[in-house]
């Protein structure tokens, strides 16, 4: 597909093939994170773990929302998702958020969650940097996702006693206050 909307982005000086590749890799990071967070969340049990279930669930559902929101932009720009899901997993822009060796170690799980969010914050900051003032639609989308990743990072950091996040809870689970405008109801 060669849409004017892609031509405009090329004309503005963005390497669109490189951008599409980054969007695919970040979409892979979102969907694999949704999967790995499912396992992490299941293991957040006991006196320490239960209290973390809700924010982990919010982050898990919002990451899936990010995947959903990225897909249309990938295709609009002439890209596609890989046919092979194994390839999709392995091209992720962030490493797998695997369960720690000791799944009862809640602090270790939190550190994995935090690292995953920090990787995402770096990834979307980069996409914002390269699209700012050039590809308005991708920028708007990447910025919306970045807002939510920054909040996730702050939630997990707060539980690791790195200071208050300053945020209130979501109104509904996985509410996606910033990305919801890109999602179909």
């Amino acid at each position: 597909m060669s849409l004017v909307s892609r031509q405009m982005v090329e004309k503005a000086g963005v390497n669109v093939d490189e951008l599409v590749e980054l969007l695919v890799r970040n979409a892979a990071a979102e969907l694999t994170t949704f999967y790995y967070y499912t396992i992490l969340r299941v293991n957040l049990i006991g006196m320490e773990g239960e209290g973390l279930k809700l924010i982990t669930e919010d982050a898990r559902i919002e990451d899936r929302n990010h995947f959903e929101a990225l897909v249309p932009r990938i295709y609009e720009l002439g890209g596609k998702l890989p046919d092979d899901m194994k390839k999709f997993h392995d091209c992720s822009a962030c490493p797998p958020a695997n369960l720690p060796k000791d799944p009862t170690d809640v602090k270790a799980i939190l550190k994995i969650l935090l690292k995953a969010e920090q990787c995402a914050v770096r990834g979307y900051t980069h996409i914002c940097n390269i699209t700012f003032g050039k590809d308005h639609r991708t920028y708007d989308l990447a910025l919306a996702i970045l807002h939510e990743e920054i909040e996730h990072e702050a939630w997990f950091a707060e539980f690791l006693a790195q200071g208050p996040s300053g945020h209130f809870a979501r109104n509904t689970v996985g509410e996606s206050p910033f990305v919801s405008k890109f999602l179909h109801p």
């Binding site: 590749e21 990834g123 980069h126």
Partner: protein
């Protein structure tokens, strides 16, 4: 420490099971074990087997990420 020429470095491109090395500020790093350097490819933006000095300027991270990986030599560009 082993001294690498650019040609030797280029052979360690991470493809087809070969090690993934890159040079940065004169040191050669081995990132073969990194998920984010699978097949010697870093997010479709950078490839192993070359000198990446100066390429971190646009990256959303700094040199601290290199410290987790072993250095296996120094680069001789002469």
């Amino acid at each position: 420490m082993k001294v690498f020429t650019l040609a030797e470095l280029a052979r360690n491109d991470g493809k087809e099971g070969r090690p993934a090395y890159f040079a940065y500020k004169g040191l050669v790093y081995d990132v073969s074990g990194s998920f984010l350097w699978n097949d010697g490819n870093h997010l479709g933006l950078h490839r192993a087997g070359g000198d990446l000095t100066g390429k971190l300027e646009e990256a959303p991270h700094g040199e601290e990420f290199l410290r987790d990986f072993p250095t296996v030599g120094i680069l001789d560009k002469s």
